[in-house]
Amino acid sequence: MSDLETFRVETRAWLEENCPPAMRQPVRSEDDACWGGRNAKFSSPDQKLWLDRMAARGWTVPDWPKEYGGGGLSPAEAKILRGEMARLGCRSPLQSFGIWMLGPALLKYGNEAQKQEHLPKIARGEIRWCQGYSEPNAGSDLASLATSAEDMGDHFLVNGQKIWTSYADKADWIFCLVRTDRSSKHNGISFVLFDMASPGVSTKPILLISGYSPFCETFFDNVKVLKENLVGELNKGWDVAKYLLGHEREMISGMGLGDTAKFLPETALKTVGRDEQGRLDEPVLRGRIALFEVRAAAFKAMAERFMDELKAGKAHPAQPSMMKYYGTELNKARHELIMAAGGSDALEWESEASKGGAAPRAWLRTKANSIEGGTSEVQLNIVAKRILDLPSA
């Protein structure tokens, strides 16, 4: 048996032994996922057990180096682990902006002290992070941000406002873009980290169309940030920001992978029924579902290819934009179809049968996929300019 085959067999056995059955079910709702943090709430003892077991192996972040709490796996081993988890239906043990976004940026741009301080806590789910990028007047045009950080010698004094900060009210720390030089748009931005419990930080939740309020307006009033918390060079934060965005887009594109191959037809069969030949008794809907599943299966192959190319250093640096664009548009189309398949069942907002309106709320949530992390229009701009090399106006 090759080393990789041995690894696969051992991994499978370990997962079978250690992943509690309850953690092999799809995540049912926002509260059902594990986000960790100082005030971590676990929906069940199994959820905590699963996190602790995976973290102990470094498998919350399988391809990070071991010294920072990772699993030290090679790309091929990490692919096997993902494949085996998918095969058993294992949940990811931890949802985390730290894992998806900040971690990769720190691995590349952080100094040794920052890596030692922050990465293991991310890997173990001890500190929950939020992302302070967008401002009321800086969304798609992110680099026009205004939140300022004034140099006070040993520390910065941060003032300003962020908006759309997901989970700002639940996060422990923030990675934040601040303006340290007003004379240059892109070269006057710095990337800093600070504790959300610092004096001068306040948050105000915003209610969404889904009825949830997972994100906030975030205000900074003379917040003191020690200089050791500057990541990368002063005024060069835009490089860190963009690198992190690439990872955010890669993560969001994963939404395109939601697996409805069974769920969608089953939902429609329940509401519509079968014709005499046993097929879904609504040929147009059947055709829409079938063609959607073709795209979904093709995108799954694309996601695999993208990961393989990324790990092998062969991916175009702007490819995450294409993945983000396609995956999120696909996910919106999927939920549009789930609503169509569900009929009036899928419109119920509060009933027990509808699990508290899980379908319409999820449908509404996906409409943000093509906005958050950079809109679809912005991704298309990037693909056009950086991959297709089309000229600027």
Binding site: A261, K262, P265, A268, L269, R279, L280, R286, G287, I289, A290, L291, E293, V294, R295, A297, A298, F299, A301, M302, E304, R305, F306, D308, E309, K311, A312, K314, M322, Y325, Y326, E377, Q379, L380, N381, V383, A384, K385, I387, L388, D389, L390, P391, S392, A393
Partner: protein, 378 residues
């Protein structure tokens, strides 16, 4: 196995790209068309394909081929597609070779040397109606002496009028619509009662309607088992469907490259039209569709080569997705070229025509989506 070409496959692609691009660019197809070439391909070019080793890609080494797989055949087909090269490669080097690989040693010995040498051309006689429905095969094969007598009509047989070998799906039992009772035959050129009527298609290629008027074949013409032809037919169809997907990708990629090139060149309103965001977004969307299709095709090729049980469904996804993406590529291609895109003199319209033919061949996106839905039970 990572989902990108390995070093050897990349080398093969580079040499196929250079070879096909130099010896058979779009102008080659145009000159055959203008001459109303009655063969539908250039035998001299087919010989060169053989010399390059392309015709033997799927033939194993023991028979003098290179024993490679669907990925490598696809690499060649993509370049054929990119250059709109008229070639019997798909039907012969993929379809017929896959059939013979499922056949007898005698059949392989009879045909492989000629295919390897570029001396033989083969055709697949499967469809009988305007839409691809292999299970509906109705052409009858009745036992007669120690052989069979074939009666019926096949359609959309590319290279059928020049083929030395016809791979024919016939019904030896059961009724149209059933998978059981189909038998695959190897029928040689010149058999009595065989008549091929070539028709020129929209893309200038030739496809024949073939009448079988009591065509007699010996028992050794059976490929695989009598009444159990669905298995070898599936093998053939998997090969040519994924192959047609690769050729489609080439057509789509060729159209997209032309279009993006044109966007960088053409000026209107005092700027290059590629600077208009309305066109940039459409070009970027097209790129995304093509990339996703490319991944689906490679996935199907790799699963086929690995003998994986999921290969057949992956092939259906690939054919459907490549059809959708390439259709978009050629339509956007013509549109973004404006008036010049509608002229015969410019090539983008040729891509549109070839794309349509390939999208239809061996089942279009609707057919494959429907098959996937049936398999999934809805």
């Amino acid at each position: 196995m990572p989902l990108f070409l390995d070093d050897e496959q990349t080398m093969l692609r580079d040499s196929a790209r250079a070879f096909v691009g130099e010896t058979a660019p779009v102008s080659h197809m145009r000159s055959l068309r203008d001459a109303k070439d009655p063969n539908g391909y250039a035998p001299a070019l087919w010989k060169q394909f053989a010399e390059m080793g392309f015709t033997g890609i799927l033939i194993d080494e023991a028979h003098g081929g290179s024993g490679l797989g669907a990925v490598e055949a696809g690499v060649v087909l993509e370049e054929i597609g990119r250059n709109l090269t008229p070639s019997p490669f798909l039907a012969t080097a993929v379809g017929a070779v896959e059939a013979l690989n499922a056949g007898s040693a005698a059949q392989r010995e009879r045909w492989f040397p000629a295919i390897l040498a570029g001396d033989a051309v083969a055709a697949l006689a499967i469809d009988e109606r305007a839409k691809h429905r292999p299970a509906s095969t109705a052409l009858r094969a009745e036992r007669s002496g120690n052989g069979f007598k074939l009666s019926g009509t096949k359609r959309f047989v590319t290279h059928g009028h020049v083929a030395d070998l016809l791979v024919v799906a016939a019904r030896t039992a059961g009724a149209a619509g059933e998978m059981d009772g189909i038998t695959l035959f190897a029928v040689e050129k010149g058999a009595a009662g065989l008549q091929a009527k070539p028709e020129r298609l929209a893309d200038a290629s030739l496809a024949a309607a073939i009448d079988f008027d009591g065509v007699r074949v010996e028992a050794d013409a059976v490929i695989g088992e009598i009444d159990a032809g669905w298995a070898p037919l599936t093998r053939v169809l998997n090969g040519v469907r994924v192959g047609a997907s690769a050729e489609l990708l080439g057509v789509g990629a060729g159209a997209m490259d032309m279009t993006v090139g044109y966007l960088k060149e053409r000026k209107q309103f005092g700027q290059t039209i590629g600077a208009f965001q309305a066109l940039q977004h459409r070009a970027a969307h097209l790129y995304s569709e093509m990339e996703v299709a490319r991944a689906a095709v490679l996935k199907a090729q790799q699963l086929l080569d690995a003998g994986d049980a999921r290969a057949e469904e992956a092939v259906m996804v690939a054919k459907a997705m490549a059809g959708l993406a390439t259709t978009l590529a050629v339509q956007e291609g013509v549109q973004m070229h404006g008036g010049i895109g509608m002229t015969d003199e410019y090539s983008i319209g040729f891509y549109m025509k070839r794309g349509r033919v390939l999208a239809e061949m061996f089942g279009d996106a609707d057919y494959h989506a429907d098959q996937l839905a049936r398999r999934a039970g809805y």
